[in-house]
Symmetry: C2
Subunit: 228 residues, 2 copies
Amino acid sequence: IVRTKGLIKEYTMGDQTVRALNGVDLDIYEGEYISIMGPSGSGKSTLFNAIGGLDRPTSGSVFINDVDMAQLDAQELAYLRCHTIGYIFQTFNLIPVMTALENVTLPTVFAGMPTDDGIERGIELLNIVGLGERLHHKPSELSGGQQQRVAIARSLANNPSIILADEPTGNLDLKTGTEIIELLKRLNKEQGVTIISATHDLKMLDVSDRIVYIRDGKIAKIDERKDL
Amino acid sequence: IVRTKGLIKEYTMGDQTVRALNGVDLDIYEGEYISIMGPSGSGKSTLFNAIGGLDRPTSGSVFINDVDMAQLDAQELAYLRCHTIGYIFQTFNLIPVMTALENVTLPTVFAGMPTDDGIERGIELLNIVGLGERLHHKPSELSGGQQQRVAIARSLANNPSIILADEPTGNLDLKTGTEIIELLKRLNKEQGVTIISATHDLKMLDVSDRIVYIRDGKIAKIDERKDL
Ligand SMILES: Nc1ncnc2c1ncn2[C@@H]1O[C@H](COP(=O)(O)OP(=O)(O)OP(=O)(O)O)[C@@H](O)[C@H]1O
Ligand SMILES: Nc1ncnc2c1ncn2[C@@H]1O[C@H](COP(=O)(O)OP(=O)(O)OP(=O)(O)O)[C@@H](O)[C@H]1O
Ligand SMILES: [Mg+2]
Ligand SMILES: [Mg+2]
């Protein structure tokens, strides 16, 4: 469902170049739960930005359902980001002036969902992540882990078939983090959602079909769960 | 070195009140390494804001070295925050338009350190957290874990005697997270720095003298390391 070929991403700063991705070839199958692990700075978020269509690679290609992302026009890309891919950002990227409910409901507005249905969906999702009593809090009125859970709820708003989860449990205690991993696992097993998760959390290993180890912008190795 | 008595913090939102801290009495000894653990939303960051003098409690008191924080004038509070307490924020709070080096060096400017000495200190600290090759990157040009490490380095700039570390390893892989915990442990053991860390990271348990469990804004129990 997701394929990268020869993915390279370079950042140029003055006369210096940082190569964040140095040739990544990765095939992710539909309905798979794949975890990407690697040291801080190894390229996980950069890879996600390329897959999610948020950033153009320096060279190489990304295919979603065999469609080359670079060939899509603005409208097709917007559709993909709205309906197909749900993105949980490492730094949450919530809108500060909007409440938790407004933040979670926003993707449904872009999808053209009727307002009442959108609000109902938002309330349902916030309850699922344990924030039913924080609907009208703005991000600054929420704890770090609560903000992270709003970002998680928001990514599910339009029922995406692919979820890009960039370190979804980094700010969560053991119990809440386990609940979130259980939620992702349920979506994967019961609804066939493809989960691509960048994580440092070893609790994620048990639910992953494969684990991709990335280092210095390249894939170092891939483990299958049955081998673990 | 730090004492809270009857600490209560309430947030009022319209006709609703959220009680983030519901009566916290805590004595922290000089040179101690104390970890505060608890569910997402239980009050850890709110407690840190009160101890760090960033937020006034609704009622109750905070004493730093037996001095009541509420009795300090603006200048005395500024001195405390500049020289005595180093704060690692859960959401980093780096200045977006400044580079990593400028962010880390900023506290030395407030402390009146000569510019060259400040820069030397900044470079040293960034090297210690493994970012010697990222000195001139702005926060948006750094990975999540790299931003977290800049926040950690910045907290050490003026050699504080108390470090408030709010989830310092949330965005770090196992190896880098362990290095940061080792760094905090060294500061504690070799320089007698008091470390107060809010964390969900179980790696923190081994190095802590005591572990405070907080739930719904109250202390549930305190464990001594020798009992674990
Ligand atoms: N805009 C940019 N300009 C220059 N370098 C950048 C930029 N963005 C990222 N980098 C660098 O690219 C590398 C990869 O960053 P990336 O965010 O993908 O890492 P990561 O694996 O997600 O790390 P973490 O686990 O800390 O989140 C890092 O070394 C980072 O410093
Ligand atoms: N400005 C605010 N207005 C209203 N409620 C707030 C505000 N700030 C925090 N809260 C609430 O206070 C409670 C405690 O928040 P706090 O940030 O201290 O939690 P925490 O223990 O640090 O959680 P986490 O582990 O998720 O970081 C939360 O339930 C939060 O929703
Ligand atoms: Mg990242
Ligand atoms: Mg917190």
